[in-house]
């Protein structure tokens, strides 16, 4: 209970600090939203009018307070750039709400790939005593980790899209129209996201398992007459997962915040793509909310990692 309250307080405090920083950052960054919207041709009167419309003539503190107040009420404001129809700008919540399912589905699919492939692979690698296999896995994972993600995206597109024709590159299927078509299309960007992470996680798990295999309790398990396989899955894996869980948490946080490059390569209308375009067009309301969203996700994921820690290792909760 105390633990939960503490975590919640940390979450709120962090969100507050990040919101202040995000807000401040746009006061400092050079460039003017008004010029960027109207272009350089605009008259000073036009500019002044827009400024007043957007509330930019007020002092920063007042603007921050009114903005923060609105955010707390659930009103995230309107985008400066995207319009909903002729005479109304797009609300940020709608804009993000539209892209969020894409990014979250991509993250979810990638995590499934990572969990389902990396964990058995790591255990298998740790148990394998075959030198050749070891070298192959070593070089393979090293390569997978080193290849830049955009290139990996291109490779996946080429291989699955052009050679095998399993999907049509660039023809994104919206989840609203055809959910399964959407999932089918997402599999390939998810593979691109997952491959380097699978390599990292498998390596990490392998090393963790190898260290753990020297522990005294492993010898005890053998002394009961357990097979190597029983020891690896029944005893070592759970203890070796401790550091891996932290690592997986970092990965989740990273993916949920939007895999910018992969979204770009596969033409996915996700959070990462939105973030890039709104930064370049100085669409502050959108960027600020996205920053808060990412912060929120990261903290929540770390909280879950912490909870998972306690589930895996009973020693932590009592300390």
């Amino acid at each position: 209970m105390k633990y939960l309250v503490k975590k919640l307080a940390t979450l709120i405090l962090t969100l507050f600090l990040v919101s202040v920083l995000a807000f401040l950052a746009f006061q400092i960054i050079p460039g003017d939203v008004v010029t960027s919207i109207l272009g350089t041709e605009a008259t000073p009167e036009q500019a002044q009018q827009l400024r007043e419309e957007l509330g930019l003539n007020k002092p920063p503190l007042v603007r921050y307070i009114s903005w923060a107040g609105n955010v707390l009420k659930g009103n995230f404001g309107n985008s400066y750039r995207y319009s909903k129809n002729m005479n109304q700008m797009m609300p940020v919540s709608e804009l993000i709400g539209d892209k969020l399912p894409v990014t979250l589905s991509l993250a979810f699919l990638s995590m499934i790939f990572i969990a389902v492939i990396a964990i058995p692979l790591g255990v298998f690698w740790a148990r394998s005593k075959n030198r050749v296999l070891d070298v192959i896995l070593n070089v393979g994972t090293q390569t997978a980790m080193a290849v830049p993600s955009f290139f990996l995206g291109v490779l996946v597109t080429y291989f699955f899209g052009i050679l095998l024709r399993w999907f049509s590159p660039g023809r994104y299927v919206s989840y609203e129209k055809d959910f399964w078509g959407f999932v089918g299309y997402l599999i390939f960007p998810a593979i691109s996201v997952a491959i380097p992470k699978i390599a990292m996680t498998a390596r990490f798990l392998r090393n963790s398992m190898l260290t753990e295999m020297h522990a005294d309790y492993v010898r005890t398990a053998y002394s009961k007459g357990a097979t190597e396989r029983q020891v690896a899955y029944g005893h070592v894996l759970r203890n070796a997962m401790m550091p891996v869980v932290t690592f997986l948490g970092m990965i989740i946080a990273e993916i949920v915040a939007g895999s910018i490059v992969v979204e770009q390569v596969f033409g996915l209308p996700g959070i990462g793509k939105l973030l890039i375009s709104s930064i370049s067009t100085r669409d502050f309301p959108v960027v600020e909310i996205l920053i808060l969203y990412i912060t929120f996700v990261v903290i929540v994921v770390y909280f879950l990692v912490d909870v998972l820690y306690r589930v895996i290792d009973p020693r932590i909760s009592t300390k």
């Binding site: 105390k2 005294d216 005890t220 357990a226 190597e228």
Partner: protein, 552 residues
């Protein structure tokens, strides 16, 4: 029961076990005694097929009931070993803390032995009880017809396993076994954990149990209980026990026969009492004489009482304990209660007690390292120094011995310019101290990693004494050392105390060590000083029941 013939084992380098042969009879307790590195553990682990992959058996054979388990030159038959381990032979390890899986309930860990061997045991039972096999067949058919039955059978079997685990847990003296079953290792005390380990080892009534230093990590009183338990199991189940220890006293209490090992060889073998009465080998004689006993030469060592160096008056030491509830205040926990004593000039005051009784906390408070205290500590001498338990981790590995010895002098000079020394002076001091602690000058430029444990502890003692303090606090200074080394270090401390007149507060959990070295002793338990007095006086007429228990 077990026969080991000409066994030699090597890792990368030379053989660590050389041509070892011995037998263990049915129901016999065989002790293997030796110092660290003598090859006793490697022998046992090889026997059990648990030695690491890097080890090679270079010669010899191992038989279990005339069945060949292991032969040099042929790879270890892991499948055969799996059949034997847990069921026909089992092992109890030294560290009950790390030898249990920290993320698994202890009940499940004991139960694992049962589930691993369930199929094999059932098969043998079936063979012996149902010779025709017709009943078995009908049973299988039923199972096929009614799928629910299989599940029921499974549940029954699980229940039966749990019942058996609970029985085993209570047979090793654990109380409230239903609750213990559900606990994780860290929720048990060291003694309880070792009982769980023993329950695991005996649950299938194996013919042989190997216990590798099973009591070394435990407190004295718990140690006694575990020894009694092993004895009881041996009598009840009539299985053979191979008991590995560095502690001759323990071996003497428990074992029928003893092997003495040194550098991988068996140097002596015989009936326990015979070995203790007239040891043949020189090494055995040395080992026996090195054991700090409570017999012999204890003369009245104290001269006249000097003046008090440290006076401790009504000292209580606290620790902050974090509150469990959200709004609860952090509470102070009292670790040492109302300690009241003095250390006098030129004496060795022994402080004895079990782990967690507050010995170290008390010594830290005396040195001023613990600020949360009530009461008074008055020093009448210059800054007291300290010698720590582990000579491996308490010396900076990147500095030379000379540098380490000069360090206190430099610190002293920095604090008090009148005592500052030139490099040459402090070097001379350091070399003199090096000789005093029994090391040659050539060690001056060595690093701690090039020294043995005993040599390192000599350096630690030299470091403590080089500023000529009136008082040195030595916290378990010999607990990490082998018996023969231990005897040498105790000898050194006594000699230095006489030469330099330094007073020692000597902390140990080992009452025999305390007896050997101290003029007066102080017995501590749960933060309280129970008894304080002249060594002979306390040993001959212990007042407190706990002291009597310790002296048993």
């Amino acid at each position: 029961m077990i026969r080991v013939k000409n066994l030699s084992v090597a890792f990368d380098g030379p053989e660590v076990v050389k041509n070892v042969s011995f037998e263990i009879g049915d129901g016999e307790i065989l002790g293997v005694v030796g110092e660290s590195g003598s090859g006793k553990s490697v022998t046992a682990l090889t026997m059990m097929g648990l030695v690491s992959e890097g080890a090679r058996v270079t010669s010899g054979e191992i038989y279990y009931d005339e069945e060949l388990l292991l032969k040099a030159g042929t790879p270890r038959d892991n499948a055969l070993y799996r059949e034997y381990l847990g069921r026909k032979m089992s092992m109890v390890f030294q560290e009950p803390m790390t030898s249990l899986n920290p993320t698994m309930k202890v009940g499940k860990q004991v139960e694992e032995v049962l589930s691993l061997h369930e199929a094999a045991i059932e098969e043998t039972q079936r063979e012996s009880t149902v010779p025709s096999g017709s009943a078995v067949q009908s049973d299988v058919k039923c199972g096929e017809k009614v799928p629910g039955k299989k599940r029921k059978q499974y549940r029954e079997r699980k229940e039966a396993r749990k019942q058996k685990v609970l029985e085993a847990l209570s047979s090793v003296g654990l109380k409230d076994v239903e609750r213990v079953y559900e606990l994780y290792p860290h929720q048990l005390s060291g003694g309880m954990r070792q009982r769980v380990m023993i329950a695991m080892a005996v649950i299938l009534h194996p013919g042989l149990i190997v216990a590798d230093e099973p009591t070394t990590a435990l407190d004295v009183t718990v140690q006694n209980q575990i020894i009694e338990l092993l004895k009881k199991i041996n009598q009840e189940q009539n299985n053979s026990l191979l008991f590995i220890t560095h502690d001759l006293n323990l071996a003497r209490r428990l074992c029928d026969r003893i092997l003495v090992m040194q550098n991988g060889c068996i140097v002596e073998e015989g009936i326990t009492e015979e070995i203790f009465q007239n040891p043949r080998g020189e090494y055995t004689r040395k080992l026996i004489s090195a054991v700090p006993g409570r017999t012999g030469k204890k003369k009245k060592l104290r001269k006249e009482i000097g003046k008090a160096l440290v006076e401790v008056r009504d000292l209580s030491v606290f620790y902050r304990e974090n509150a469990n509830s959200l709004f609860g205040r952090t509470e102070k926990k009292c670790v040492v209660r109302n300690a009241d004593f003095s250390v006098y000039e030129g004496e060795i005051l022994g402080l004895v007690g079990e782990s967690g009784c507050g010995k170290t906390t008390l010594s830290k408070a005396i040195l001023g390292l613990n600020k949360m205290i009530t009461g008074e500590v008055t020093h009448h001498s210059n800054a007291p120094q300290m010698v720590f338990q582990d000579p491996y981790s308490s010396l900076n590995p990147s500095k030379t011995v000379g540098w380490l010895l000069q360090e206190p002098l430099r610190a002293q000079g920095a604090l008090d310019p009148s005592k500052a020394m030139t490099e040459a002076e402090s070097r001379a001091e350091a070399i003199e101290m090096l000789k005093r602690v029994g090391l040659e000058e050539k060690y001056f430029d060595r690093k701690p990693s090039q020294l043995s444990g005993g040599q390192r502890q000599r350096i630690s003692i030299g470091q403590a004494l080089i500023t000529r303090p009136g008082l040195v606090i030595a916290d378990e200074p010999v607990s990490a050392l082998d018996v023969t080394i231990q005897a040498q270090i105790l000898e050194l401390i006594r000699r230095l105390q006489e030469e330099l007149g330094t007073a020692f507060l000597f902390i140990s959990h080992d009452i025999n060590v305390i007896y050997q070295v101290s003029d007066r002793i102080m017995v501590m338990r749960d933060g309280r000083i129970l008894e304080i007095g002249e060594t002979c006086e306390v040993f001959e007429h212990p007042k407190d029941p706990y002291t009597r228990e310790l002296l048993r």
